[in-house]
Amino acid sequence: MISLPFALLVTATLGSVLAGLSCSIAGVFVVRLNMASIGFCMSHAAFAGAAFGLLVEVDPLPTAMLFATLTAVLLAPVANRAKLNTDVVIGIMFSLMIALAFIFLNLSPGEAASGTALRILWGSIFAVSEYDVLFLSLLSLVMLAFVVLFYKEIIALLFNKKLAQASGINTYVFMLAIVFLTGLAVSFSLKLVGGLLVYALIINPASTAYQFFWDFKKIMIFAPTIGVASCLSGFVFSLETDFPIGASIVIVSALVLAVSIAVSPKRRRRSSASFA
């Protein structure tokens, strides 16, 4: 068990709660809209961006955001089409971004495997500043407001994009907003959870909630709850074991998802059908 100074404990706890909250709300959209490949690419673009920040010796947050946003701008039109070949997109973007990240890390001043560089890979509570917590709080507020204010449009969009458009909703603007918010959630959570793992924090809590509930309102309540709980217990787990916090959070959330798939009431009786 590691003991932490109180201020660091508060920052880390708040960071965990807010990262869990914003990432899992983004996940509710990403999972339902089949945007997993975009979320995946944006996470790793943010990772490459953060590594670039280290290289040019600026705060990794803005560069992570820049890379994630650029990827989103590149991929959003692709996502809006039906014929997206996700395997190809993932194959190209993922390997490209990881390669870029490693090149940036390798070129970074100081030792390549320095503590700072490794934090970008798997996250650290020591990397989270008060500013990061502030940004995460603002983002969480914006996301909650987005969900509350546009609840009926979100339901329409997540039920069926074409029908939502057909009833007069500007689906393109909503898709852009969702992609953009996801990019921010990824970038802001990256220092805590790490560039290689932040994607799991987007997908796992939301997928867990989708296993249990038929009512979208409950999913909107439980996905963030599961996300926050995974982050907090991951945090405690990492204090106990001295594992990196990102890895601990992802292990917890992956276990929760695995168990929930096994016991999901939605999957009973329908086991013959496959809906990937």
């Binding site: 039920f159 057909a166 809906f275």
Partner: protein, 250 residues
């Protein structure tokens, strides 16, 4: 081009899908007067679905021009779509779909209620009425993922009704329905038409043309090949020839 009393007016309209060279619909001329009930029939792949999506502007047309409710379809997408109800050709329901039937039906009103407004009691009344019109009022709190194909189809129809549109675009509204449900939906569509709504329905099945339908349009390979009053068209044999000989292909 004067679309004042025409619900839908198309002149020389063609649409080519991205990456394709052959237009999916070409040189479509069509006028649908307000209050009309028109059925478009044709074999699979004739371009019926494409036609509906071009009319409500989901799919951009590549040449020609068109108006819906007096507004140009290339410029007024969302404004037109708020006033046109669309029943999409049946798609697979995802059994994990996390929405209750009443939320799905309400989502039909999401566009017309407008941004930053919340559904009021009146909106829920309309939703409940739409659900009972299709005989699904007891399903309001059931998840859509658990419905059968026919029940889901009725929810999609209720969703369009809840929008209270002036024009309905119905894409194969009888697919997945058993004989009784077909009768119910048939009566319902005729009633909507009697209430003043304009209906443009497409179907690959000549046997399913409701009695209230006044005019039929026959489509094949993206073109209109014949049109006329319902009864005349059904007698010509042209329709059944086209549908039958195509239908027997593997």
């Amino acid at each position: 081009m004067n679309g004042a009393q025409d619900a839908i007016l198309l002149r020389g309209l063609s649409a080519v899908y991205e990456g394709e060279s052959v237009p999916a619909i070409r040189d479509i001329d069509m006028s649908v007067a307000s209050g009309d009930f028109i059925c478009v029939v044709g074999p699979n792949g004739a371009g019926k679905t494409t036609l509906l999506e071009v009319i409500n502007g989901i799919l951009p047309h590549t040449s020609g021009e068109g108006t819906a409710l007096g507004l140009s379809i290339s410029e007024n997408g969302d404004r037109i779509r708020k006033r046109i109800g669309y029943v999409i050709q049946n798609f697979e329901i995802d059994p994990l779909s996390p929405f209750l039937c009443r939320n799905v039906v309400m989502s039909g009103r999401a566009g017309m209620i407008g941004l930053l407004r919340f559904p009021a009691k009146h909106d829920w009344d309309v939703v409940n009425r739409a659900l009972s019109l299709v005989g699904m009022e007891s399903y309001a709190s059931r998840p859509v993922g658990k419905l059968s194909g026919g029940e889901f189809q009725k929810i999609l129809i209720a969703r369009a009704i809840a929008q209270e549109p002036e024009v309905y675009l119905l894409d194969e509204p009888f697919s997945n329905l058993d004989i009784k449900a077909r009768g119910d939906v048939d009566r319902l569509i005729c009633e909507l038409n009697r209430g003043g709504s304009t209906i443009l329905m497409v179907s690959h099945d000549v046997g399913s043309i409701p009695l209230s339908c006044t005019r039929m349009i026959l489509m094949d390979r993206g073109r209109i090949v014949a049109e006329g009053p319902r009864n005349e068209m059904l007698q010509t044999g042209e329709i059944s020839d086209l549908l039958r000989c195509r239908g027997s292909e593997p």
